[in-house]
Symmetry: C2
Subunit: 317 residues, 2 copies
């Protein structure tokens, strides 16, 4: 029985599907589906560290913060990130415990509120592009910018509310709660950490960690997390069983096992979409380069099969 440690990164869309409005019930149902697959991985003997996106959850919270702003002050983006870690972390620990128990395992599970170090010297602070929160008219967006120091951009030209706040998406540099997470793993606790890419903080002049209004890419944070816990495998779960080249063309091809060099040349060739598959492949490549071990991209329902080498796109040195 393997005691390999695998870091599993799930998208925020695995929690709220695009067709849904995002009630608690809907999200719990989706998390339940994901948790059942993760429970199977645990039953197969793997040690597990889960990380997850929070796009739809933070989006909804930011809208609510804004709509209530005449009555109570909206919290910062950092606090909203912390809130979504509580929300989604709870859902996962709750549903995972259920499925594990059903499968005969009574394992301790723990969601850890996680800060991730970034630097405001990161070039992404020069020209932020990550949209967060509600859509605004140009006039409203510019008012918010003047009042709150936001950077706003037109992100959907041609509609009335085409503007949004944009924030930087800096590189994650370290996992602040690294020691606590490792302590839990040593004690065989299943851990959920760095949700939404983590709460971005930078080193302040007084030595404290200062919250930064930014959003860290969850797959990059997943790699940093894998590094922090010296994971044996890093797996990104998404909508498709395999990464494709020549995607949506007659000659499209599902990738099975590829080397770092092959991944790099596909990437250079522009085979992977920048906003979706590109960052996932890059995060996997970082892991393989660093560890010499395997990284996997596959779909939720194929996760265990892929870990066992039966499917998925597996990137190796």
């Amino acid at each position: 029985m393997s005691r390999e440690l695998v870091v599993i990164a799930l998208g925020g869309n695995a929690i709220k599907q695009a067709s849904e409005i995002g009630t608690t019930e809907e999200q719990m149902k989706n998390v339940d589906t994901a948790a059942e697959q993760i429970a199977k991985i645990s039953m197969a003997g793997y040690k597990i560290l889960i990380t997850h996106g929070n796009g739809p959850q933070a989006g909804a919270l930011l809208i609510q913060q804004e709509e209530g702003s005449s009555l109570v002050p909206p919290q910062t983006l950092t606090v909203v990130g912390a809130m979504t870690q509580g929300q989604v972390g709870w859902m996962f620990q709750n549903r995972l415990a259920y499925h594990l128990k059903k499968m005969g395992k009574d394992a301790p599970i723990c969601s850890v509120i996680t800060q991730v170090e970034v630097s405001s010297d990161d070039p992404d602070f020069q020209d932020p592009t990550k949209p967060v929160g509600p859509f605004y008219t140009e006039a409203d967006a510019k008012n918010h910018a003047a009042e709150k120091g936001w950077i706003v951009k037109e992100v959907k030209p041609g509609v009335e509310k085409s503007w949004r706040r944009v924030v930087p998406s800096p590189e994650p540099l370290s996992i602040v709660e690294e020691r606590a997470i490792n302590s839990l793993l040593v004690e065989r606790v299943i851990v959920i950490a760095a949700g939404g890419g983590g709460i971005p903080v930078e080193k302040g002049k007084d030595g404290s960690w200062v919250g930064v209004d930014a959003v860290i890419d969850k797959d990059r944070a997943g790699f940093k997390l894998s590094q922090a816990v010296k994971a044996d495998k890093f797996m990104i779960l998404t909508d498709v069983e395999n990464v494709y080249v020549d995607f949506n063309k007659p000659n499209q091809k599902a990738l099975q096992e590829i080397t770092l060099n092959e991944a790099q040349s596909y990437l250079d060739d522009g085979q992977f979409f920048k906003g979706s598959m590109g960052p996932k492949v890059e995060a996997c490549m970082r892991f393989v380069k660093w560890s010499g071990r395997e990284a996997i991209i596959t779909s939720l329902d194929k996760a265990l099969d892929a870990l066992q080498g039966k499917t998925g796109t597996r990137i190796k040195k």
Copy 2:
């Protein structure tokens, strides 16, 4: 140097003062003040487990959920509780790390999203009295009740919006994440847990923990937490240095060290207000009865002095 484990319970009002509107900055500043005192306790050699209230934070979030409800679905009270654990947990771990570092200690800290078991057989489900969320007019309150199955009550007669939703405040029965919390303490991690009294869950028919719309008293949850980790001391921090008898009378007297029997007779005598000091004294009495060890009620700035027996109200067997 003592290696006693102390469970410290702080009120939600230590995080947002009544005179404040509750911006992130204000709350961070208050948490910073509290964290400095807790850091001193850690420096004195105590192992620490922190728990905290979330009344003002959950209140604000419930208003925001409601105000945004035409755009995004409000999450359940359980999810709001989980969110405030993320919010306040982050604030504490962030400011505590800063003060410890300044004092020369680089200790790992971890906020644990915590579920607390309750039973829907609890008598409090028969006649819920704990108000949560916004104030409504009678008509609006009754609409919500009809639509969502809420129980609503008039809580502030004589004003236009005098009605609120009320939920049960059941007894906490166990700390679901007990093992993870103990694992962290074994590894000498400072833990923040069961914020807001914990996320109330009950055992479902299918074996899962089901979220319950309720609010658990944070001092009672603090006692359960003390039990779960076998704490050496349980300390409740509040606005006053001591518990008083004949409070606000010419002969008022600050209590120093009292026995369980003395505490019980003051309680029977109606010396402590039901909504404020009463539950704190009762939670302390439960701890002393169970452990035979000391429980303390004092103010934030006297916390270390009280632990060292110099001030505060100390309840002993």
